[in-house]
Symmetry: C2
Amino acid sequence: MKIFLAQQNYHIGNFAANTARIIEAIGNARKAEAELVVFTELCICGYPPRDFLEFEDFIKQCEASVAEICRHATDIAVIVGSPVRNPVPEGKDLFNGAWFLYDGKVQSVVHKTLLPNYDVFDEYRYFEPAWQWEVIKFKGKTIALTICEDIWNLGNNPLYRICPMDQLMPQHPDLMINISASPFDYDHDEDRKEIVRLNVLKYGLPMLYCNAVGSQTEIVFDGGSLIYDRHGNLVKEMKYFEEDEALVDTDDLDNIEGSSGENSDTELSVMSTGINTEVREDHVLDKEMRVSKIADPSKIISYLTAPNNIRQIHDALVMGIRDYFRKMGFTRAILGSSGGIDSAVTLALACTALGTDKVRAILMPSPYSTSHSVSDAELLSKNLNNPYDIIAIRNIYESFLDTLQPVFNDLPFSIAEENIQSRTRGNLLMAIANKFGYILLNTSNKSELATGYGTLYGDMAGGLSVLGDLYKMQVYALAEYINRNAEIIPFHIITKAPSAELRPNQKDSDSLPDYSIMDKVLYQYIERRQGPKEIIAMGIEPELVNRVLKLVNTNEYKRNQFCPIIRVSAKAFGVGRRMPIVGKYLS
Amino acid sequence: MKIFLAQQNYHIGNFAANTARIIEAIGNARKAEAELVVFTELCICGYPPRDFLEFEDFIKQCEASVAEICRHATDIAVIVGSPVRNPVPEGKDLFNGAWFLYDGKVQSVVHKTLLPNYDVFDEYRYFEPAWQWEVIKFKGKTIALTICEDIWNLGNNPLYRICPMDQLMPQHPDLMINISASPFDYDHDEDRKEIVRLNVLKYGLPMLYCNAVGSQTEIVFDGGSLIYDRHGNLVKEMKYFEEDEALVDTDDLDNIEGSSGENSDTELSVMSTGINTEVREDHVLDKEMRVSKIADPSKIISYLTAPNNIRQIHDALVMGIRDYFRKMGFTRAILGSSGGIDSAVTLALACTALGTDKVRAILMPSPYSTSHSVSDAELLSKNLNNPYDIIAIRNIYESFLDTLQPVFNDLPFSIAEENIQSRTRGNLLMAIANKFGYILLNTSNKSELATGYGTLYGDMAGGLSVLGDLYKMQVYALAEYINRNAEIIPFHIITKAPSAELRPNQKDSDSLPDYSIMDKVLYQYIERRQGPKEIIAMGIEPELVNRVLKLVNTNEYKRNQFCPIIRVSAKAFGVGRRMPIVGKYLS
């Protein structure tokens, strides 16, 4: 049977656009003489739809879209993901469903069994898990159809008690199809291929794995759909961070005998990822894969900045920026360009994502700015060839000080005056954004956000955070990657000591430990959920550890007002990390 | 048996303070000659601990606290709530547990069965549901101990398949004890009493219901712990919005025969709430009680502003402000006082919560402010006797315009200039807050937040939103309530037409429909999850409905950066309402 995989980029709740996109791919599949075309999890409404699922009207629109697609599923079968109503009163109102359409009708629906409810996932908030399992019979083939997380329990994942494929095997399927909306993070990028391969080896069936692509606010879906033959050979790996289509004849997946022929290199590369069942044992003990894999403290920084991770992060961030703008209906970005590394990297990424003419940099020196702040930022924009303006903030700053004089009297310079400068910049950026219709890109990094080293409504302003899931050491590595072919980010921006320049001769190192040490502490605490004892046992000064953890916990209130962060790690600030604000733990 | 109920206010993660508070109450119970003292759900760590539960170190601190309390549970038995480790590999790592301590030892633990995972609740993210049920035997009594949601399925709640009390009844308990952390909202305030009473009537057993009190960032726990005899008579209703303690002899709960004697009035008042099993039927069909109860559109505004609701909202907001400050370690508040109704009500509530001398009002007229803006705000602060300053923003505003002149050139006045004024105020307030150690209180209301009628980093700035869960019509009703004994809020503030005063002669009604109509639309959409068709069917202009719903959906990005909102309704913006930002539904 010829099956067509459609790896597409959907827009949450944009039924007209999603349906049109799906119908277009059905046309392509028909042209390619496919008999079945496979889409991704909840493709009808986009994933994750969140609390829109609580609206009856929203569910009706899902159903109307499925009905419309049905009219195109005449001579060709179609599998789409969309919510399914729970027909019995017990349990939640909906299932997360896969609809099998053919002959202009809904032939059957499959319900998702394993509902992720960790990190960014909330599926138990909306869906009832499947309690019955049935294969799909089509043109003489028996298909075991599952949804995303359903294949992530091979019987040894302690999080789950049911293994949906085990339920389906007695019905003798010929083929496995899984439709997914599986997000990217650099910590787990190889796991997906390995899980698919382990399913193939366990059940001895070929597998078609169709994953969503595209960014939905903070969550990046990276595509990379997979086709494996029944022997565990990777037959097709679809594009990452791009839409893609593929056609496969299932006969080809059955006929290959124990060797993948021309794909043997690919197979070896899969085997060499080192994630085999034995190694995985440890990993499975990390229920829900909530925790990052690297435990050896001496390897943390080299892991975080590994070339393969940085390359993928780069591509994820470019897609994240591009999709946010497109889906919000904007084309142009603005940002404050300080001459520092964070704004330089953000600017370079934005130019790649949106086009250099669409990104306006604003240089806003204060009385405490060094001369190289402006000259470095100017050189950067000249290298990138993007528009920029220089707007000195001295007059506004002094106007604030004059106006506040009756209140502040002669109190000494403090954080208040520092923040006035930062918020004046935020106000200027937002004013230009409001005047001309830009979205303000935020340039804060994860190390700053973790420790609260930023000004609310000042440098923490913006509609989207580009670097908020990258530790400072990763921002440096990303700068080097951006410069891989030419010096786009001026060398001096990369080498100078980081500074907020909000008081004379200020350096980050006045307030914070060295980033190379601090990032290790932060990674152990945030990604690996280690406590102070374990982190101190790595050989880091107890005082430093306690100080950093206290900073993380006392600055939850700031992060709570921060914009969405493009998520690239196993644990990003934002929807995937839910902390009390009035808490008093390690603080 | 003499049982002591301790209705206390905990601080999330503050193990030292929580443990000390618990030990103090054990002392009080001992003095009162109680044999058992009952605390509330997750009292050891505070509720909700959220992702702190993913930290091994956090769980160890819970265990250490339980061990310490054990040393005080010698001659007196103690029931406390704290996480319990799941001993088997299957399922989540933790249970939500009730610990029964006596004779210096842990005698037994009970696991929560029904895990709420809707609105503000995420218990399925952390906990495994109970799979076995056992009563507690103590001093000849058999106790059926359950945790919060466990009593909210009387067998007819379709959300759940298990009814924990049904599981315990074959073990012949004499008494039900439920430990809760059940939040307040004005939509469900009577349900809790009714559910406890229905449990008593169904099982024919007395019930001791011990609920937490105190505010945790946005979630308000209102206390109101309950003691019912076996006939459904309310024997004791503990204080609302305050800590409280009570002693009961269980013999008294058994002996009363079908009448509560001196409590008969109370019983009648319980009966007269009108929430009987028949009426409840409809309500139970609303799974999870996610949806507000009032369906009749003509009754919405009178329901929202009903005196009993407004009185409770008042008390909840006062406690919400007070607890936020205390738990964050602050004592003093600042806010912008505009002469409008929202800032007036916020200021009055803050003065009640923190003391008039602890709340500083800043009056910041712009060139577009009317003269009564300042005079009304001054009169308000004179009535309240709180400190205030007048700081004109004209110079700073003009300095922004001068600085931006080369960029704006001669483009006409627009939203950009309006927002500069609002953000200048935000910057001034934050500067004074940073200089002197205030927390900035936000004054936005729910109608504004819903429609995006506010300026990010301007009037949307602040550490805590006091009125963000009150529709504009409720703010007016609350102002009247505040003035119930004297004119605290000047009459003119209540009667004048609302205006942002950011351009000449601006009125809210230039941009928004009448609040009396708009609030109905918002309530139907937000609290009741109605779609455009249903709302239009109420008799409201389709154009108006579509415009309002579009405003709600396109302003998710603004609310995403907003501060925590003290939650008083069945559906507040914030953690209980999770919407995609890049979504394109009804927009």
